[in-house]
């Protein structure tokens, strides 16, 4: 398996050169990052050229890297202050910046080649645009249609050239993009039946956010790249 991955990686590097950038992986998976302007060209080649033959797009996944690597509970000074349940939760501030951090949003594509029995992951950052936008791959892989609708619904990433970019999972008339990291877990509104008015009414949420288990990141030397077995990159 590792040989086949390496040979595919060599072919991709030879074919696309500077356009793609391999990302190291510890799980024997092949990941490439590429510029969003190159996406259509690279994707078309990956599907059509027989040496790659990625005839299937299995998944399209949106990612919001806003709070990547942040924890809620620093434990470094725990021996001075004592462990406490006090979690410093970042209060949710809606990120209404005109420009995003260039690595804030990403779209991840999982490709599968049935003829070569191999998988490939592509990641495209959406850049500073607000709203974030990338080109749609629906014309290359038709299965992208609903997957891209889902990413749009949950992350607000637009897909240029998509035939029917509507919300798909959230309610009719939903406001906001719920999987963004600045969208509160408890939501913004709650719905109930108003007997007096005789209709469904929306109100601001009445519950309070709480964290049962704080998010912690620990330095663990067992996972350092140098010590890990099966490290193939």
């Amino acid at each position: 398996m590792t040989d086949r991955l390496d040979s595919l990686a060599a072919r991709i590097d030879a074919r696309f050169g500077e356009q793609v950038n391999r990302v190291a992986s510890t799980c024997r998976e092949l990941t490439y990052e590429l510029d969003k302007d190159d996406l259509i060209k690279v994707a078309t080649a990956l599907r059509n050229e027989t040496e790659f033959g990625f005839e299937m797009l299995m998944d399209v996944c949106g990612v919001d890297y806003l709070t990547y690597g942040m924890d809620e509970w620093t434990t470094n000074s725990a021996s001075d202050t004592g462990f406490s349940r006090g979690v410093e939760r970042e209060s949710v501030i809606l990120d209404e910046a005109d420009e995003f951090d260039p690595k804030r949003f990403a779209v991840v594509y999982h490709l599968l080649s049935i003829q070569n029995n191999i998988r490939l992951r592509l990641r495209v950052y959406t850049g500073i645009d607000n709203p974030p936008i990338v080109k749609s791959v629906v014309d290359i892989w038709n299965s992208a249609n609903w997957f891209e609708r889902e990413v749009f619904d949950l992350y607000g990433i637009l897909f240029e050239g998509h035939p029917d970019l509507r919300r798909i999972l959230t309610d009719y008339g939903f406001i906001g993009h719920p999987f963004r990291k600045d969208f509160p877990m408890i939501g913004n509104v709650e719905v109930s039946y108003d007997a007096a008015e005789g209709r469904v009414a929306y109100k601001p949420v009445s519950i309070e956010a709480r964290t049962l288990v704080p998010r912690v990141i620990r330095d663990d030397n067992r996972y350092s790249a140098a010590l890990k077995d099966g490290n193939d990159v």
């Binding site: 799980c27 892989w141 299965s143 049962l212 288990v213």
Partner: protein, 417 residues
């Protein structure tokens, strides 16, 4: 002659043939479907976002609730993604147990599908037969995990506990005669493995029974042959997987092509369809039940002879036993850390795909090194299938919509997540 006008019809979301909460907006001319627009998301619970706020192990239970007719297979995809990130070796016995339960789950799922699909297009009896066998498998689930459906049995590194030595029995009651009671308990005298083996011996005859009802049935064929035909090229283009892809004649099964756990040691065949219609997909799934039964039998034989640990012994992510915890300080600390904070998973990303009864079920996890996943993406097979519904029903009659919903084996728990 009066002019026929096309009109728009709403189907669902509360409709017995909608398999849950599917809402279809159909544009119809006479009885012919011109255009279909499926609305999904009525069962959306934000499972992925919930998983981002919980330590890794606490989300295993959510996975059962995705595709709630193939519970353990969902767990398998999730724990495999974590294992990939952690780099854990799973003990051999645990791998066999997982393969066995994956296949039991496949039978459970296909029985549910067959019963519901039959009921949708007019075959009542097969539904009752299917649920009779499902009941036995539900008991197997209950014996091993304590619950009939939402098992939460798999863990990163293995399974929660070993197979029980005894099978729960029916109790005497004034509504049940002695004769009935001994008939019901006949297979339950021994261990769980005895019960499963007895099931595998009985089950092929049951499948024959379903087939006598359907395979050559004129009405069944009229309702399924040449309905919802998908060519192999379109099936790949539309992201189909599992029986939907194999029904169209593409020989692709992750258990053979990218084997995980001990599937590479199993002897089984992959059925493939020819025409890509509802009837071929029916034949593929029925044959898959027989093959799953074969795999279960092989696992039972191996598990009888090979006792051993069922979860990796690294207490950094799998809890120590109760006894160890009580008298060993180190184990107590591990226990405390695991059940308060959980374990941290190294930074990275992993995509773990399994051959779920419905197709390729995959979990994509991005970890930033914390005790909670940074992003969990669930790739549900049904989501890709139902996105092709509009294309599949176009030009068919209204009644065929129900046959096509049935053949796609749709469960909204996994589509809406």
């Amino acid at each position: 002659m009066s002019e026929i006008q096309s009109y728009t019809m709403n189907f669902g979301p509360q409709h017995p043939a909608a398999h849950g909460v599917l809402r279809l907006v159909l544009e119809i001319e006479g009885e012919m479907i011109k255009k279909a627009d499926p609305h999904v998301g009525l069962l959306h619970r934000a499972t992925e976002k919930l998983a981002e706020t919980k330590p890794f192990n606490q989300s295993i239970g959510y996975m059962d609730r995705l595709d709630y007719v193939s519970m353990m297979c969902n767990e398998h995809g999730y724990v495999m993604a974590i294992e990939k990130l952690l780099g854990v070796e799973v003990p051999e016995r645990a791998q066999y147990i997982r393969v066995m339960f994956d296949e039991i789950t496949r039978i459970l799922n296909h029985l549910m599908w067959l019963g519901a699909h039959g009921l949708d297009i007019g075959a009542m009896t097969v539904f009752l037969y299917c649920f009779r066998e499902r009941e036995d498998l539900m008991d197997v689930y209950e014996a091993v995990s304590g619950t009939r459906m939402h098992a939460t049995y798999y863990r990163p590194g293995g399974v929660y506990r070993d197979l029980p030595d005894s099978m729960p029995k029916y109790r005497a009651s004034k509504f049940r005669s002695k004769k009935d009671l001994s008939r019901l308990n006949a297979a339950r005298e021994g261990s769980l493995l005895d019960f499963i083996e007895d099931f595998t011996a009985r089950f092929p005859a049951c499948v024959d029974e379903y087939e006598t009802l359907l395979t050559d049935n004129r009405i069944w064929k009229q309702r399924t042959v040449n309905i919802g035909v998908v060519s192999p090229e379109r099936a790949m283009q539309l992201g189909f997987s599992g029986p939907m892809l194999r029904g169209s004649g593409v020989e692709w099964d992750l258990r053979k092509k990218q084997p995980y756990d001990v599937y590479d040691r199993m002897d089984f065949d992959i059925p493939v369809g020819v025409n890509g219609d509802c009837y071929d997909r029916y034949l593929v799934r029925v044959e898959e039940m027989r093959q799953a039964n074969r795999i279960v039998k092989q696992c039972v034989d191996w598990l009888r002879d090979n006792p051993g640990p069922v979860i990796a012994s690294d207490h950094k992510f799998s809890p120590p036993t109760r006894v160890e915890m009580k008298d060993d300080m180190e184990s107590l600390i591990h226990h405390f850390k695991l059940f308060t904070e959980g374990y941290c998973v190294p930074e990275g990303e992993a995509y773990a795909a399994i051959e779920h009864p419905k197709g390729e079920f995959a979990v994509y996890i991005i970890s930033d090194g914390a005790n909670k996943p940074y992003r969990v993406k669930i790739r549900a097979a049904g989501f890709a299938h139902i996105s092709a519904m509009a294309e599949m029903v176009e030009g068919h009659m209204l009644a065929d919509v129900v046959a096509i919903i049935g053949t796609q084996d749709i469960v909204f728990g996994e589509i809406d997540r």
